[in-house]
């Protein structure tokens, strides 16, 4: 086809006609008219130069006159080789031709001068198309198109408009092209029962007046009024966007590499004088939007229901008037279905200014007019926004709509059913539907059909649903989210969308192409980590507000959620509910003036967690083990509601760390073991039922109370029962507890001496001989500073601080603002094990030459004048004895907790003894055959057995202020150190004289 500007109209025309260069020519007028003439029909030409007129005289007697000034150009072409002509010359396109030729206008267009691209299917393809349509699910509007005769006028129009697109589609950077279809081809009538609905009475139901329940008679609905796009993929085009052939083979398995609207292009770019023909394997139907694909494909009904909560009907005067022109008998109104979103037709169309959240209160009308229509409840509807409107055919984000489209990862019905009934989503249902733990609690039963499920999930606030959907499943770019890039996709929280891209690929069910994006139907849920990790039961909860605040809020200064959301971990999280946190037995208060139980409660505001206190009856404020009050909670502590926020955060941090177990390969909650180290270095013991399920747990406090023989039903005194288990979370499991796990108050000193300090206060039943007494006597270096300094091990002339620091390495216990005396061989929050020889074993060792402090004292003072030793040799001898004794004691402690448990193990532990020759700390080998039997072998090869007295857990605290015999106001734990104590039937690191 050729164009030419008018230089001398008459001359040109005469020339063309004479030479037969054109069989048809069109004279394009500046006013838009473009009459055309067959050259063979022209009889003669005449011209009037004075007036600039040229007249064409046709053989049939008609004539047309043109002004040169009013003429833009002349176009001439040979219609034999036009698109229509080319198709006519090829046998087998009768049905497509029939479709075209039903419209004179389209016949002219395909024969004419306009540059077009046509997607034409042959007759066989049409027959296959009709046969496949019969198998479509019932919501699909093409289900009835089972023969040419069965096609409705609207369907014919849709097929035709979709098959033809203006211009060339071969630019490498375009993957979509605007077809001429717009809106009405997908018009459908939803009956009064088919109208979208939801069950949440707190939200506006935008479709209410159309639903039969309210007397509504349904609604005429077109999904969108914007032009449809036809997607056109070839390997060359997609390479521009780094979309690989493997991506294409995944998205369209068993398809040719080039396709339009998902249909194979069998032969590309067949030339014609007015464009190109793409021979396609099936007639192109206008694709539905992603929203409609999700609604009609049969596999994603639940997700479609969730999406509908973000939708509302908007009256469309444009479509209504257009339709009425075609169907004058139509008297109803046509609406479009829009979704509340941050990117939509109205925003991009310039109908909105300022903030992007508001969908307009009107619909654009013909020629720039507007019709007022307000379906909104109130301005808070903006909070319901999706990332973009999935029903908007003309979707685009940053680049032109021809260059990209969107994508959505949509969980299948099966995946969503499992999520809400068995997975992390159950926590949402329990919270928002069953109101678990609140006064409005209702019994929860698992749903048995979709309607029952919808009633439950519709109780989840739409803003919560928005953050689940917005953050994770809606991708702004199709080319940026093809399968080869799944490993690099992140949600808004910078979490990888897929923990394992290959695994995600294995969970891809189907790929469905829409006119505005790709729908990946997944047998997998992409939820933000907040909703699928071990934090989920706290995050989406009305009854775990305290722990949610502790995990997420800034005042804690912890960002603890980063640990609990850590991907590819196996974490066990014990979650005490708000009511459970009424029973926090403050461990550092036990030897204060007011041993207490702290009640945490959630008050909201900038510092939302508050405290109340009640008396707690512990061993130190009761008359003894037979006191009936022991282990019970008393009255409110009067005048005690004065505390600092630092105390709150201090206790909450300790709770968080000691309710988290990391199953890191050195321990596994799924094993038979009962004891597990917490993230904070303490120990938790789990209680299992006969099948191995965890039904309870104990912290050090609970275990110590049990050891003391306390037995009462007060929550959390001897056990914390599991009230609910969440075992299918993405990075572990969460157990909701009826009371919090509390670490023990019992220090190593307290255990070894039976609270000798209490005896000093005059209380009965404390002190005296214990199974650890003899060894404890070896740990009393703090009483022998004179001797340590006197023999020269520490320079007595040092300033006090330095002298104290130097003495520290000989002392096992020091006073350090704890509940009594702290184990001081270690400085940090470092867990340790104490293998304490029985009294008999110690006596045997001393009889074999192990010095005692008593020996050292006697030796020293029998060779001293005053405090001064008599000779250098005496100093050496005393010093040797002290070092030997100190090292002997230290040999019975090691880094880390060696716990006698069910599973066998054999591990090395670094002792605290010091080998001066090698400047190393030698190792102990702990060997357990399981079933709580354990032996310890030292570096001399000497093996001892752990006796029946094992696994006693202790904890030392260093507070900001001494908590002994004081009121507890403002006292926090600065540091703590947890240990496990075993009694052994021999000694370590000593070979006799």
């Amino acid at each position: 086809m050729k164009h030419t500007k008018i230089l001398a109209l008459a001359t040109l025309l005469i020339g063309m006609v004479a030479e037969g260069q054109a069989q048809v020519f069109q004279i394009i007028q500046k006013d838009g008219r473009a009459p055309k003439f067959q050259a063979a029909a022209v009889d003669s030409l005449s011209h009037n130069n004075a007036e600039g007129l040229t007249t064409i005289h046709l053989k049939d007697g008609k004539k047309e006159t043109f002004q040169k000034a009013a003429t833009d150009s002349i176009v001439w072409y040979d219609p034999t080789n036009s698109i229509l002509g080319t198709l006519r010359q090829n046998a087998g396109y009768t049905l497509f031709l029939r479709l075209v030729q039903e419209s004179e206008w389209w016949t002219d267009m395909l024969n004419g001068a306009t540059d077009l691209t046509v997607f034409a299917a042959d007759d066989n393809a049409w027959q296959r198309f009709f046969a496949e349509n019969a198998k479509l699910p019932s919501p699909n509007p093409w289900r009835t198109a089972t023969s040419y005769e069965a096609l409705t006028a609207d369907q014919k129009r849709a097929l035709l408009y979709t098959a033809i697109t203006a211009g060339s589609i071969n630019r490498a950077d375009l993957i979509r092209t605007k077809s001429l279809a717009a809106g009405l081809e997908a018009l459908e009538h939803l009956s009064g029962s088919e109208v979208p609905m939801h069950y949440n009475p707190a939200e506006k139901w935008y479709w209410e007046r159309f639903h039969e329940a309210n007397g509504g008679k349904g609604i005429w609905l077109a999904s969108d009024s914007s032009f449809r796009y036809t997607s056109f993929f070839t390997p060359e085009k997609l390479k521009t966007f780094n979309v690989t052939e493997t991506d294409l083979s995944i998205i369209f398995p068993a398809k040719a590499p080039q396709m339009a609207n998902g249909v194979d292009i069998l032969q590309q770019d067949i030339p014609a004088t007015n464009g190109t023909i793409q021979d396609v394997a099936s007639p192109l139907v206008p694709l539905q939007s992603m929203a409609d694909v999700i609604r009609t494909n049969g596999k994603t009904n639940i997700f479609s229901h969730i999406l509908d909560r973000f939708s509302a009907p908007f009256y469309s005067p444009v479509l209504t008037e257009s339709y009425k022109k075609i169907h004058p008998e139509f008297t109803d109104s046509i609406f479009t279905k829009r979704y509340f979103s941050y990117n939509n037709y109205s925003l991009k169309g310039g109908y909105l200014g300022g903030n992007s959240w508001n969908v307009p209160l009107f619909e654009p009308g013909p020629w720039g007019t507007y019709q007022s229509y307000n379906p909104y409840k109130d301005n808070s509807d903006y909070a319901r926004g999706l990332r973009f409107d999935p029903g908007w055919a003309g979707y685009y984000y940053e680049v032109a709509p021809e260059k990209d489209m969107a994508a959505m990862f949509v969980p299948s019905d099966e995946a969503l059913w499992h999520y809400f009934t068995k997975g992390a989503g159950q926590a949402l249902i329990l919270t928002y539907y069953a109101n678990i733990g609140t006064a409005d609690e209702i019994p929860y039963t698992a749903p048995t059909n979709y309607d029952e499920l919808y009633r439950q999930i519709d109780c989840i606030p739409v803003s919560t649903m928005a953050s689940i959907l917005v953050n994770n499943n809606m991708m702004r770019s199709f080319t940026g989210s093809v399968p080869s890039k799944w490993g690099k996709l992140f949600d808004d929280a910078m979490e990888p969308l897929f923990d394992d891209a290959d695994e995600a690929l294995g969970q891809l069910d189907t790929c469905l192409l829409a006119n505005n994006g790709m729908v990946y139907v997944m047998n997998h849920i992409n939820m933000p980590a907040d909703f699928r990790s071990v934090t989920a039961p706290a995050f989406a909860s009305k009854t775990n507000l305290i722990m949610k605040s502790a995990i997420y809020d800034d005042y804690m200064g912890l960002n603890y959620y980063t640990y609990l959301k850590a991907p590819q971990q196996d974490i066990t999280f014990f979650l005490p509910s708000d009511s459970a946190l009424f029973y926090y037995y403050d461990p550092i208060s036990m030897k204060s003036r007011t041993p207490r139980a702290i009640e945490f409660y959630f008050a909201g505001g900038s510092f939302p967690v508050k405290l109340r206190f009640r008396n707690y009856y512990c061993p130190y404020n009761t008359s003894g083990p037979d006191d009936p009050d022991l282990g019970t909670i008393g009255n409110v502590v009067p005048g005690a509601n004065v505390y600092t926020n630092d105390e709150v955060t201090d206790r909450l941090k300790d709770i968080l760390y000691n309710h988290t177990i990391v199953n890191d390969g050195t321990q596994d909650i799924h094993s038979r073991n009962e004891y597990f180290r917490t993230f904070g270095g303490d120990v938790v013991k789990v209680v299992r039922d006969a099948s191995g399920r965890i039904i309870g747990a104990k912290g050090g406090f609970q275990m110590e109370n049990e050891r003391l023989g306390i037995a009462n039903d007060t929550p959390g005194v001897t056990e914390c029962k599991v009230i609910r288990s969440y075992e299918s979370l993405s990075n572990g499991q969460t157990y909701a507890l009826a009371a919090p796990l509390v670490p023990t108050w019992r220090s190593l000193y307290s255990l070894m001496t039976n609270d000798q300090d209490q005896a000093w206060y005059g209380k009965e039943g404390y002190g005296g001989e214990t199974p650890y007494s003899e060894f404890y006597k070896l740990c009393t270096a703090d009483e022998y500073e004179t001797e340590i300094i006197g023999c020269g091990l520490v320079d007595g002339s040092l300033p006090r601080t330095q002298r104290e620091s130097a003495l520290k390495k000989y002392k096992i216990f020091t006073s350090d603002k704890g509940l009594d005396y702290n184990f001081s061989l270690l400085s940090g929050n470092t867990p340790y094990t104490a293998f304490i020889p029985t009294n008999e074993a110690v006596r045997k060792a001393t009889s074999q030459g192990l010095p005692t402090w008593d020996d050292i004292y006697k030796d020293y003072h029998s060779h001293a004048s005053g405090d001064q030793l008599n000779s250098y040799e005496d100093s050496i001898r005393i010093a040797e004895k002290i070092m030997m004794l100190t090292n002997f004691v230290k040999a019975h402690f090691c880094f880390g907790m060696a716990i006698a448990d069910q599973e066998p193990f054999r591990r090395e532990y670094t002792s605290l003894a010091y080998d001066r020759n090698y400047e190393l700390f030698p190792k102990l080998i702990v060997d357990s055959k399981g079933g709580q039997e354990m032996t310890v072998t030292d570096w001399n090869g000497n093996t001892v057995n752990v006796t029946a007295s094992k696994n006693v857990f202790v904890r030392d605290y260093t507070c900001n202020s001494s908590p002994i015999s004081v009121a507890m106001k403002g006292i926090q734990m600065n540091a703590h150190r947890s240990g496990v104590v075993h009694l052994i039937d021999g000694v370590l690191g000593f070979t006799g004289n």
Binding site: A566, S827, G896, Y918, L920
Partner: protein, 511 residues
Amino acid sequence: MKKIYILILCSVMAATLHAQGGFGTYLRDIIEKQEKGILGMARVIEACGLCDSLDILMDYEYENRYLRGLIPTTIQDNIMYRSAYAPEHRRYGYTLFAETDDFWLSQGIDPNDPELLGKLTLWILDNFQYNGFGYFTNDGNYESEDNLLNQWVTYHLLPHRLVPDKLVNHVNEYGYSISNPNRLTIPVTEYYVTMGKRRLLKLYESAESDGVYINRFPHLDDGRQGSGHEIACDPDKEGIRVDRENYIMDCPNAIVYPISQPLAYTDFVADNLHRTRLRFDITGLFPEFSNNDIRCSKITDDRHQYVYIPSTNTYPYLDDLTVSNDANMIYYNAWNMGWCNLNGDEVGVTGRYDVTLRLPPVPREGIYEIRYKMLAATSRSITQVYFGTDKEKLSPAGMPIDFTRNINNMQAGWQADTGDNDADQLVDTELRFNGVMKGAQSITQNGTQSERAGNQNSRYILVRQRMSPDETYYLRFKNVLDSYNKSLYMDYLEFCPESVYDSREKPEDIW
């Protein structure tokens, strides 16, 4: 118009440089002219097919994008409140340690001999100049990385162009001052990854060594109260002295150091490396920093002090480090600013960073700790570390780490050194148990205050696992806080073999 002019000028320059040729052309020239000196080495390099890649002078695509403004030339650094400048070029460069022709003649091998390759291969085998634990072929396919001769010659080549005063870097080692640069003190070491099959080459210099040596393994006075100095060196561990006086720099992208002893990655070298704690300055891992005069530049203008490296998507400037889009990477040269980092410099990646680093190889199969130096600050973040061999599928290495906490407020047992060995050793052991270590004694602020003394400095033990020299490992650091104001600090990392950190004979030194 100006841009076009510059583009044309660059093209002309490029054409000129091409005509001049790179190292490959230089070596071919030597062969053609039968020039004595390093003729033998040149012939081997050429036979192994390396000349073409040695000829590449610079990355012209980077030049193009830089000039067209497709790479941001400056960004504002919000840590130091200065402008940081992207490098103008991305040059390639090489260092060759070459046995001289005289050496080969002394070995009975004539560099002119047509049978040179075969004879040299035989010499390598006869003299055990190879790694017995490694895989190699002897099939005459010299261009293969598995070929014995190829492995041998590539061990002489570094993809860094190291001028004589940059073979090692004397900046802030203990006792050293840049104001008295000739007064060397304790040893400084660099470990570089060679070309071809990835192996480590150690460069070393101390006050006692009298020059820079390759693969020297001396005895050090590295006790707690030691001086840190070299006190002795067994004759078989002296290594190979680098002749810095007679280097050859006749082509624009390479430098040649003659050596008078044979260099090879032998079992002896690998075993000694395996008994060593290997400390890598982060910027020493990037040839781009060496070849573009970025690392340890003594020029103190902002362009050299604050160097912006674009994100990988903008342009993959560094082959061994990828940086996500939402973060800015800046190299702080910090010359003469007294920063307590290894060599004084550091890298900061600020934003929602996601950084993946290709690690150097280990010398032998075994269990190693990978430690990472951290300087705690409130501008740091909580970071998830990943480790593994599949760059796209690395596994988390433990729980996220809060890099804002210093070693003291971690409650890991930090106490300042007292001078009492067993007390101090106990503190170190307790810290190790809790996954951290104090900083290194050898790294100081201005030569005196050691990084070990401060509780802001620590070394995190990120990984402890079996590693193989035949695998390539990656570390990835990902910011798990949703914040653009947090930064990843990068100074140095260490590979420490089990035989060092868990020795039954002596504790790991504090240096």
